[in-house]
């Protein structure tokens, strides 16, 4: 081993200082970097910066009473951007509720996420028209089973493992360290292993489930749990966008090629609060926060790009683009209007349901009975 060898099992390509210094464990994933061009690197950086600025803007909107709640992703940008770029257009993505930039990369307008948080819809978009980015799921780990069932459907359709990576489909499902304790997350791993689904479980370990530390969820590193289910598990430095890309690309390709599911644990940190209703100063050690802020994924990747000779003008232009994007989001968020009250009733059932129809008609009559009633 050389003096610079990094024998940690955690796959890392970029040091926290932004130096390309792959860990020994990264060897099998390095070839996947060959798929990337400098233009991709610039996109990675741009998306991380833009979504962080979006995040700040959304939190401001919440503080100003324009959103009911905001769920920040600050600190987790590298894990999300790298893994999202590793997906292919034919793949399906099942998020939890903090994967804003994954949605953006799959073609979602982030204002659609704000619609749900502004209280005008319970969903917000049509997955098939937005890069197969499925709806946010607020009950933790429920989506892991939907993802597994969807991947089973890909198998039944013969839409995977044909040997053509350009068309073979796979599923990636996002969840977290808190959700890893849910029964559904574990049952999903059982089913995925049993049916050998084309699926990657992308577990963002951001170290906190609201106020409960990951040490309460698990006495073992979460990626090691995969072995107990019969899946390969890989732990990555989740603040290293290149590690997230390369490891996810390998496991998704394995999945689409019929080599079965895998679990990735991305070590990252929820720098902000759980949501705008949370106060992490009540339960978190400032030193831990400082440690992770010093490992910021955007700062790291910017250092790497600067080392590659990326010009200052590009970095400044990205900052300007992020500001413009945030201003645009603000303008359009304030323009989100309430739906008609008919949404209460209209999509509960696909086929007619007499009780719902009766209640809808009653509400119309009732509200019309008041002076100035609108029905």
């Amino acid at each position: 081993m050389s003096a610079t060898s990094n024998a940690s099992p955690t796959v890392q390509l970029l040091s926290p200082e932004g130096v390309f210094a792959p860990s020994d464990s990264a060897a099998e994933f390095l070839p996947y970097l060959d798929r990337l061009t400098e233009a991709d690197y610039r996109r990675f950086y741009r998306d991380m910066v833009v979504v962080r600025r979006f995040d700040t803007e959304a939190a401001n909107l919440q503080r100003q009473g324009q959103l009911a709640l905001w769920v920040p992703s600050h600190g987790q940008e590298a894990a999300q951007v790298g893994s999202a770029y590793a997906t292919r257009p034919q793949d399906h993505v099942f998020p939890s509720y903090r994967e804003h930039v994954v949605g953006m990369i799959r073609g979602l307008d982030l204002v659609d996420i704000l619609r749900m948080l502004r209280g005008v819809t319970l969903g917000g978009w049509t997955p098939e028209d937005h890069g197969n980015f499925h709806l946010y799921t607020l009950v933790l780990a429920s989506q892991t089973l939907h993802a597994t069932g969807y991947a089973m459907g890909m198998q039944l359709d013969g839409a995977t493992a044909t040997g053509d990576p350009e068309t073979d489909q796979a599923v990636i499902v996002y969840y977290g360290d808190g959700a890893s304790s849910q029964g559904d997350a574990n049952e999903a791993l059982v089913f995925a292993a049993s049916y050998q689904t084309p699926q990657v479980f992308f577990l963002q370990n951001n170290h906190w489930a609201i106020s409960v530390p990951v040490t309460r969820q698990s006495r073992t590193p979460l990626y090691l749990r995969a072995g107990g289910f019969g899946l390969p598990g890989t732990q990555i430095d989740g603040n290293d966008v290149l590690a997230s890309y390369a490891v996810t690309a390998k496991h998704l390709d394995d999945a689409r090629a019929g080599r079965g599911p895998a679990l990735i644990e991305a070590l990252t940190y929820r720098v902000g609060a759980h949501t705008t209703a949370d106060d992490p100063t009540k339960y978190r050690d400032p030193e831990q926060l400082a440690y992770w802020v010093a490992r910021d994924p955007i700062v790291r990747f910017r250092s790497y790009l600067q080392g590659l000779g990326v010009e200052r003008e590009f970095l400044d232009a990205v900052d300007e683009e992020a500001d413009d994007y945030a201003a645009d989001v603000r303008r359009r968020a304030l323009d989100i209007h309430s739906p008609e009250k008919a949404v209460i009733f209209d999509n509960v059932y696909a086929e007619p349901h007499p009780l719902i129809q009766e209640q809808k008609a009653w509400l119309d009559r009732y509200e019309a009975s008041f002076e100035g009633g609108d029905a």
Partner: protein, 359 residues
């Protein structure tokens, strides 16, 4: 193993044994498209599932022990032999995952039929049913359908152990987005199963275990009633009794006993628990002025309570007496040795009819 299947021609009485054919169960591929068959409910359900799978390649079976064993009640017997293990999935033992993966399969365009092995085993899957399955279409603003059927063998009268004799239908009827049905006989079982699978909404399909084995005539040519229609199964003029599933046969026995005492009882088979078809119920109450609702389930916050409240709201002036409920007690289902004291019997139904008529 072989089964004796009696076929008959519509409109003609079946000469006992005259047209009996002996056939191995797995050769039911030759099911006639018309005519009638005399089948136990298990085989009627099996035939309904088989027909639905033949009609639509997107229909899948999922559940525990439903493959080579054919389910603990043999309702899926032979399906894996005909359709293979890609369409009949023996799953790991995890109810939440059965429902949760069925949701994913439905998003993919499949029509999964999930078997829950016993009534009391549905609760590990309750969250996926109520928080996910029931709401998927609504959350997607109508952009998806959720054609998932969840089959649940339910109810008492089989002398079994804890968690094997329960009637949890009210939990599901209380959940917006679900449809809840329960056939009382083989004919309805055959048709309602196919109609439930054809529905684009999730359907919780309660199968009354104690009615699994009695044979009944199945008309293979036509169903006779839509999935969510209630139906008068015995006409009467003095009192109306309403029930679903296994309770219907108890109500028919009670009506027979009442007739011997000179009381004419109309019996309505609810068939659908959500939505409830009030048309035949209100028409009957208009005629009789007396209504008794019977159910194996606990009476508190029950389907019977809902019917009683609604009939009083819609038909107060038609009633000559309060609507009365006959229910299981508000206790856990008891040890089987005393279940006959717990379960509504024909005599308990008659007692309620007498009370109603004495107002």
């Amino acid at each position: 193993m072989s089964d004796t299947i009696v076929t008959s021609i519509p409109g003609q009485a079946t000469p006992a044994g005259a047209e009996a054919v002996t056939a191995p169960a797995h050769t039911e591929r030759a099911l006639p498209g018309t005519g009638t068959m005399n089948l136990p409910m298990t085989k009627a359900l099996n035939a309904g599932l088989r027909q639905a799978m033949r009609d639509n390649p997107k229909v899948l079976m999922m559940g525990e022990d439903i493959g080579p064993l054919g389910g603990v009640f043999r309702v899926t017997e032979g399906l894996i032999a005909e359709f293979g293990d890609k369409r009949v999935l023996d799953t790991p033992l995890a109810e939440s995952a059965i429902i949760g993966t069925a949701i994913g399969l439905a998003l993919r365009g499949y029509r999964p039929v999930c078997e829950i092995q016993f009534d009391g085993f549905v609760f590990p899957g309750f969250d996926q049913i109520t928080s996910q399955l029931a709401r998927m279409r609504n959350r997607h603003e109508g952009q998806v359908v959720m054609p998932v059927v969840i089959r649940i063998p339910y109810g008492g009268h089989i002398g079994s152990i804890e968690h094997h004799q329960e009637s949890p239908e009210a939990y599901f009827a209380h959940t917006p987005g679900l449809r809840v049905v329960s056939p009382s006989n083989a004919h309805d079982a055959y048709w309602m199963m196919q109609e439930a699978i054809a529905s684009d909404d999730p359907v919780i399909f309660f199968e009354p275990k104690s009615r699994y084995w009695p044979k009944g005539e199945v008309n293979l040519a036509k169903s006779g009633s839509p999935l969510h229609a209630s139906r008068v199964v015995r006409s009467g003029t003095d009192a109306t009794v309403v029930g679903h599933g296994a309770m219907v046969s108890v109500l028919l026995q009670a009506a027979e006993l009442a007739a011997a005492e000179g009381t004419s009882v109309e019996v309505i088979d609810l068939r659908s628990i959500s939505p409830i078809d009030y048309g035949p119920i209100l028409a009957s109450v208009e005629k009789t002025g007396h209504l008794v609702v019977a159910q194996e389930a606990h009476g508190f916050v029950s389907v019977g309570s809902e019917i009683a409240a609604t009939v009083m709201e819609k038909a107060f002036y038609l009633l000559e007496a309060p609507v009365l409920r006959v229910s299981g007690f508000d206790t856990p289902f008891p040890p089987a040795a005393v279940e006959t004291h717990f379960l509504p019997s024909p005599d308990r139904v008659l007692e309620a009819i007498d009370r109603a008529l004495s107002y």
